[in-house]
Structures are given as structure tokens and as C-alpha cells.
């Protein structure tokens, strides 16, 4: 697919599992969807996701990043990164994927989905009202 970039475009070099063909996404925030963020693919056929800062779901949330994760983000340890957990709104109750969050480096605009071998968190954590 054409490699489009522009202001605010985040590149997921490896795509997202299930949507490997789509690499470019933008984040949309607005008071009307607060506190959620829309992760929107810029290709017409690309998926969109509603997402939430995992710290808003679990104030103690923490997931380790490995050296390869940081390399894929073009990130140096200790620099701020943006974390988002994807919601499954079709589930009842709505669940949030704390197991595999999206991590974005705002300096390079590179993103990854974190697929750790081990995680204390489930893919389908029930979401309480936020």
C-alpha cells in the first residue's frame, strides 16, 4: 500500500495482529468521546478502535518494555510514551485489552502493540463506568 505520512500520522510498522496490512493510524480525541481516544486507520478499509489509557482502568497498571520493543519504537529508555488499551465494545460487558496495549512514541510517531510472552493482565478485562 502507499506509504502515507503526515502530521499526526502514527506508523505501526508491523501492523496490528488481525490487521497486518494497515500501518497508518491517527488519534482522535474530543470532549464528546472523552475519556476515550479513537485510534483511526487512515486507509478507507482500515479498522478503527476505541481506546483508553490503561492507567484509567487500573491506577497501578504497569507493563515492561523490552529492548526490542524500545528499538521498534525508536525510543530511549525513560522517555515518555503514550499507552492505550483497546476496548471491545461489542462484548457484554464491554471489555478492555490490558494484555496487549498499544504503545506510541510521540517523538518518532512509531507505534507497536505489546505482545509480551507473559502478562499479569487479561485481554478481556471488564470495563467499569469511566
Amino acid at each position: 500500500m502507499p506509504h502515507r505520512t503526515g502530521p499526526g500520522v502514527i506508523t505501526f510498522g508491523d501492523g496490528l495482529p488481525g490487521f497486518e496490512a494497515f500501518h497508518q493510524f491517527v488519534l482522535v480525541r474530543s470532549p464528546s468521546i472523552d475519556p476515550f481516544t479513537l485510534v483511526k486507520g487512515i486507509d478507507p478499509d482500515a479498522p478503527s478502535f476505541l481506546a483508553l489509557d490503561p492507567l484509567q482502568v487500573d491506577e497501578h497498571y504497569s507493563a515492561p518494555l523490552t529492548a526490542p520493543d524500545l528499538a521498534r519504537l525508536g525510543a530511549e529508555a525513560g522517555r515518555p510514551l503514550l499507552w492505550l488499551a483497546l476496548l471491545s465494545a461489542s462484548a457484554d460487558p464491554v471489555t478492555v485489552n490490558l494484555r496487549a496495549p498499544i504503545v506510541i512514541n510521540p517523538e518518532t510517531m512509531q507505534g507497536i502493540q505489546l505482545l509480551s510472552a507473559e502478562s499479569a493482565y487479561p485481554v478481556d478485562y471488564p470495563l467499569r463506568p469511566v
Partner: protein, 85 residues
């Protein structure tokens, strides 16, 4: 599918930068050592499949966002009126 027989401490090379070596062969499993560039992600298949299923479930219809957010604010209960604001 390419099928290759390897013995303990033997390896295969994929492309020019990825090596998969047999480190241990046990009754219940085979321990593999994978050497790959830092930018090449390596996943266990079952984890990848689990996250793929979760992503497919999470893909949302962006045109129905308002209703979705209202439902989430109401506590995620389908059919329950949203609180709006």
C-alpha cells in the same frame, strides 16, 4: 510447509539475519533459541492468535461512536440509556 529435521544444537537460518537453534529436546517440549535483529518481533503463535482475536473483536464502527460512548458511560450495559453530557 518446509519440513527440516534438526538435532540438538543444530540450527536453521532464515534470510540472512535470523537463526533458530535447538537448545534442548525434552519429552514434552523443544527449547528453541532464536537470534533475530531487535526490530524483528518474535511471538508465540498462541499469544499472537489470542491478540488477533481480541483486535478483531475491538475493531469499532467509527460512524456509531456517539452511541458507543454513551453506552460505555452508562456502564457498558447494552440498551441502558447513556448519561450523555
Amino acid at each position: 510447509m518446509l519440513v527440516i529435521t534438526r538435532k540438538l544444537d543444530e540450527a536453521i537460518v532464515i534470510g540472512d539475519s535470523i537463526e533458530v537453534r535447538v537448545l534442548r529436546v525434552g519429552r514434552d517440549g523443544v527449547r528453541l533459541g532464536i537470534t533475530a535483529p531487535a526490530r524483528v518481533p518474535v511471538y508465540r503463535r498462541e499469544i499472537y492468535d489470542q491478540i488477533r482475536a481480541a483486535n478483531v473483536s475491538a475493531a469499532a464502527d467509527a460512524t456509531a461512536l456517539d452511541a458507543l460512548v454513551a453506552r460505555l458511560r452508562a456502564g457498558g450495559q447494552p440498551g441502558e440509556p447513556g448519561t450523555g453530557d
